[in-house]
């Protein structure tokens, strides 16, 4: 608690917290975030607050800086300006794996599974920090190793089962169909025991029925694990149906924030983004 209070910033920001999360510490609190790549500003003045059990979306045209924001949140890039607080802790200067331990997990736009390993092993890699087994014990395969492995297997199978992937557990991750790989990446992220999970275009490459299935699964994840979900998606149907709050970015800046209804009616959004798409459609 001490660490929390020391690192808490007192600046109130625009929040759009859901009713159920109003009295709780936001799981993700981003203030005035920005990054420059050699003079080019990729992201600037990005603010968002996400409650512990909220599903939010991040939309915007291609090249708007969405993935860059995810990379900033997971410390793949260090921000030039602003701060990121995960469960109230500032992630400044932290490495990706440390940020993950704070409770943020993610999937990737271009799937990054460990292709040479089985689906089960992919999930077990995700559970790495949870498996309690000393280095010596793994080297010498002491009894505690077998105990820990057994437990890990059980939990990994449960997680795979949760996303309907139990029957591909022994298949090489690289050999799985695209949609399955996307879901496997989500399982792997869940395996790290996160309090927020970032999904980078989870429905990309899925057919409509798979997308519908995914929407149910996203809600089930939140309801089962009680965690926040923050997703980038181009499929407006999914975003509008699943997300409780949506932020729109263009040219690295937020141009609108609000509930799906608000976004749908926001003139700036319609012009910059939806308008075009609707006109196309």
């Amino acid at each position: 608690m001490n660490e929390y209070s020391r690192k808490m910033l007192k600046v109130p920001t625009y929040t759009l917290l859901r009713e159920q999360d109003k009295d709780k510490l936001p799981v993700l609190d981003v203030r005035n975030l920005g990054i420059d790549f050699g003079g080019l500003t990729a992201v600037d003045g990005f603010n968002i607050t996400i409650g512990p059990t909220e599903i939010s979306g991040l939309i915007g045209p291609n090249g708007a800086g969405k993935t860059t924001i995810f990379n900033l949140l997971t410390s793949v890039y260090q921000p030039t300006r602003g701060s990121i607080l995960i469960n109230g802790i500032d992630t400044k200067g932290m490495t990706t794996h440390k940020v993950n331990k704070l409770g943020i997990a993610r999937t990737f736009q271009n799937i990054r599974l460990f292709t040479d390993m089985t689906a089960l092993d992919n999930v077990k890699v995700g559970m790495h920090n949870e498996i309690k087994c000393s280095f010596l014990s793994s080297l010498l395969h002491l009894p505690s190793y077998y105990k820990a492995e057994k437990k890990a297997n059980q939990k990994a199978m449960e997680l795979l089962d949760f996303m309907g992937l139990a029957d591909v557990a022994d298949k090489k991750a690289g050999s799985l169909p695209y949609g399955v790989q996307r879901r496997l990446e989500i399982v792997r992220a869940l395996a790290t025991n996160p309090s927020i999970i970032l999904l980078d275009e989870p429905a990309a490459g899925m057919n409509p029925s798979e997308t519908t299935e995914l929407m149910h699964q996203i809600r089930r994840i939140r309801d089962t694990f009680h965690i926040a979900i923050f997703l980038i998606e181009h499929d407006m149907n999914l975003v509008m149906n699943v997300c409780e709050a949506i932020a729109v970015v263009n040219y690295g800046r937020i141009i609108a924030k609000g509930t799906p209804e608000e976004i749908r009616q926001n003139p700036a959004v319609i012009e910059a983004y939806l308008g075009r798409e609707e006109a196309d459609a």
Binding site: T67, N71, V76, F108
Partner: protein
């Protein structure tokens, strides 16, 4: 004045490293492979030049030309037989093949030219420049090697930025797949790179042996490793980096021998290399490549 003489000595051996490193870096930059046989192609070049001068009695520029021709052909043959079939496999596989080629060339040279050393006659006939009453001597070899380095460096830079083939090489080095899609013949471009790299090796061989006259089948291997170190030092893949790295390595080596310890000079040189790489992980002039997420 002592220090100046050591500096000249350092530049002398450094420029030899530099010209070898230029070949290394060029092949690495484009074909993305560590060609450990480069040092042995140098040795072959030196032998060819030696034979042409000593057995056929032809003037030294003819011998250099002969060495360039033979090494270029040798480079193309090696590339076609041993490296090309492995295109697209892990770089380690090609590395091991290159080592096999290196063993092959050394042993073949021993069978052809025997293992007894030969004394290479310098291609430079100029008298050394003597300054400050005998305290400072600059040999013609130093001047020639430095000049050759600069010419090769400028030539390569112009070649890769101005000519069609050169631009294709740069494209292949940046992104092989994209270059292929743009209609560049990647295989031919890489073969050309090897041809040029081997021609450079021939020139390097002549200059190496003009500076260091002992010529044996193993002559190329140690300077080859040093030059490889120099190329990394300067930022592998970078043409000016290879030149800078080579000359700096030579100067560091000479100074550590002169002022610190001759016994431990190898350890000192390599420690400096490690320290530089820790401060500048991509070498002095290398580009740090950000991984795309």
């Amino acid at each position: 004045m002592q220090i100046l003489q050591y500096l000249i000595n350092g530049i002398s051996i450094g420029s030899v490293y530099a010209i070898i490193a230029l070949g290394y870096t060029m092949v690495y930059g484009i074909a993305k492979m560590l060609n450990f046989a480069h040092g042995d192609v140098i040795m072959v070049g030196a032998y060819i030049s030696f034979c042409v001068t000593n057995y056929l009695g032809l003037p030294s520029f003819v011998s250099v030309l002969a060495a360039v021709v033979v090494c270029t052909v040798l480079g193309i043959v090696i590339e076609g037989l041993a490296y090309k079939p492995l295109r697209g496999t892990p770089s380690l596989a090609v590395l091991i093949t290159a080592i096999g080629v290196s063993y092959f060339l050394q042993n073949a040279a021993q069978l052809i030219w025997s293992s007894s050393p030969k004394n290479f006659t310098s291609v430079v006939t100029m008298d050394p420049i003597v300054l400050m009453d005998d305290k400072l001597v600059i040999t013609g070899e130093v001047l020639l090697t430095v000049a050759a380095c600069i010419v090769v460096m400028v030539g390569l830079t112009l070649f890769t930025s101005k000519t069609r083939t050169g631009k294709a090489m740069r494209a292949v080095s940046e992104d092989r797949d994209a270059a292929q899609l743009m209609g560049i013949n990647v295989n031919r471009t890489i073969s050309t790179t090897f041809a040029i790299g081997s021609a450079l090796a021939a020139i390097a061989g002549v200059l190496l042996c003009s500076t260091v006259p002992t010529l044996m089948p193993t002559t190329g291997s140690m300077p080859g490793i040093r030059a490889f170190t120099a190329a990394v030092f300067g930022g592998i893949g970078s043409i000016p980096g290879a030149m800078l790295g080579g000359i700096l390595l030579g100067i560091i080596e000479t100074f550590s021998k002169a002022y610190l310890s001759t016994q431990f000079s190898d350890a000192i040189v390599f420690s400096v290399l490690i320290i530089i790489l820790l401060v500048k992980p991509a070498g002095l002039l290398g580009k740090q490549i950000q991984e795309k997420v």
